[in-house]
Amino acid sequence: MADRINQVARKVPTWAVYIVSLIPVPVLLYMAQTGGLGREPIGALEHKLGEIALQLVIVGLCISPLRRFAGVNLIRFRRAVGVLAFIYVLLHLLVWAVLDVQTLDRVIADVIKRPYITIGMAAFVLMVPLALTSNNMSVRWLGPVWRRLHLLTYPIAILASVHFIWLSKGFQLEPLVYLSVILGLLALRVPALVKKVAA
């Protein structure tokens, strides 16, 4: 089974991953304009983009455990998944700032005064260096530093899911599921990290 998946995955070009993963952008914009996102499209679009970003972060976190525990090798798509997650976070942020909050001073006030927005913004800021170093040249230049830098993915994932929990009203299941999945995926890495530190 794993071999079959690996065989198929080898034939899929990474640009196809970009194209397929970006299809929701025009679809969501079209839906927002035509009522497909409900009667209040600004909030709906904002939430949808944030949700996809979080899902991509989770997909990215699945890639190395899939190889380690299931022998499924999708490592060559990991960069694309990370860059796509960044693109969706950027769009989420833009919709929030431009269409929802609408003025720069209110954006700044919200980032400073509202902890759940501060946390979301922190996750975005931490993603910027990762996006900027998502090219072969940076990997070569930075060497081992690149690997350590990209461990930022872990706090980013936690911040993003806490951001989701914090903005929800009442006791809701969905954001808690996201955090649990992320914590589970991070827990899978603990034995390997411990070994590395011990060695």
Partner: protein, 269 residues
């Protein structure tokens, strides 16, 4: 008197206020008993049986008992009220309600001397309400008003919108409307009204007392801990609609500010 002044103010407002589209009013709702998504109530609330419907009126009243919806409808005087509706989540609409003044219903029940507050309760029917299988809130949903708020002429019980029977997702067959308070105070699908001596517990206050107070008057100067209340997004304006400033007491300051004279609105949020 107060009634006349309020009536005049309402008449003036009715000219300025443009009611939101029926689709906006009936397809963008918070009614967590039917799900937490804004479209969930419109999708799921058809399962709610609204006929027959009985409202228990009890507590400190002269005529406690089970009141059938027909009984209530027959006894009340109906009128249209076009009100601003401001959700605590910073979105708003304008809704042409049909209903009657809560004061008339309370008078029918006969409020006794010691009655200082009115408590309300929403139906709790796990078979008909998919949202109550999960403890998003401590079910049933409960709300409350101080007696002077409940008796205020702006406070109504709504049974219709746009001269049509109120849809289930909007709180059929009868819901409270308190236009100067955040929307969650206007409790839906009411099955019990209790006149009490003490301030009754309210659902969102129980869930998060730091964020949702008993009063919850619309106030652009007192922010929600997680977001600003200074402005609001008008539902139905599309992707590029401008936010509009939120008005003190949701625009009903002249009518209701006196209820809170001398009170610190920051402490009594």
């Amino acid at each position: 008197g107060l009634m006349g002044a309020a009536g005049m103010a309402r008449a003036q407002e009715a000219e300025e206020l443009v009611p939101s589209a029926w689709e906006d009013i009936t397809q963008y709702n918070n009614f967590y008993e039917f799900g937490t998504g804004k479209g969930d109530p419109a999708r799921n609330a058809h399962t709610l049986t609204t006929e027959p419907w009985t409202v228990v009126i009890d507590g400190l009243v002269d005529n406690p008992g089970d009141y059938s919806m027909e009984q209530i409808m027959d006894a009340m005087t109906f009128e249209e009220r076009i009100y601003r509706f401001r959700c605590v989540e910073a979105w708003s609409m304008v809704i042409p309600w049909n209903g009657f003044e809560l004061a008339d219903l309370l008078t029918l029940a006969g409020v006794q001397e010691g009655g200082k507050y009115v408590a309300f309760e929403t139906a709790l029917r796990p078979d008909e309400m998919p949202g109550v299988r999960f403890p998003t809130l401590d079910w049933p949903y409960v709300e409350g008003l101080r007696m002077d708020e409940a008796m205020h002429p702006l406070t109504i019980m709504a049974t219709g919108i746009y001269d049509k029977t109120i849809p289930n997702q909007n709180g059929a067959p009868m819901r409270l409307v308190v236009p100067w308070k955040y929307g969650f105070k206007s409790i839906k699908s009411i099955v019990r009204i209790t006149v009490t001596e003490d301030e009754p517990p309210t659902s969102w206050n129980k869930a998060n007392g730091r964020e949702y107070g008993f009063y919850s008057n619309v106030n652009p100067e007192v922010d929600h801990p997680r977001w600003s209340q200074a402005s609001e997004r008008v539902v139905g304006g599309g992707l590029f609609s401008k936010r509009q400033p939120t008005l003190m007491f949701n625009g009903y300051e002249d009518e209701v500010a006196s209820l809170y004279a001398g009170m610190d609105l920051r402490a009594n949020y």
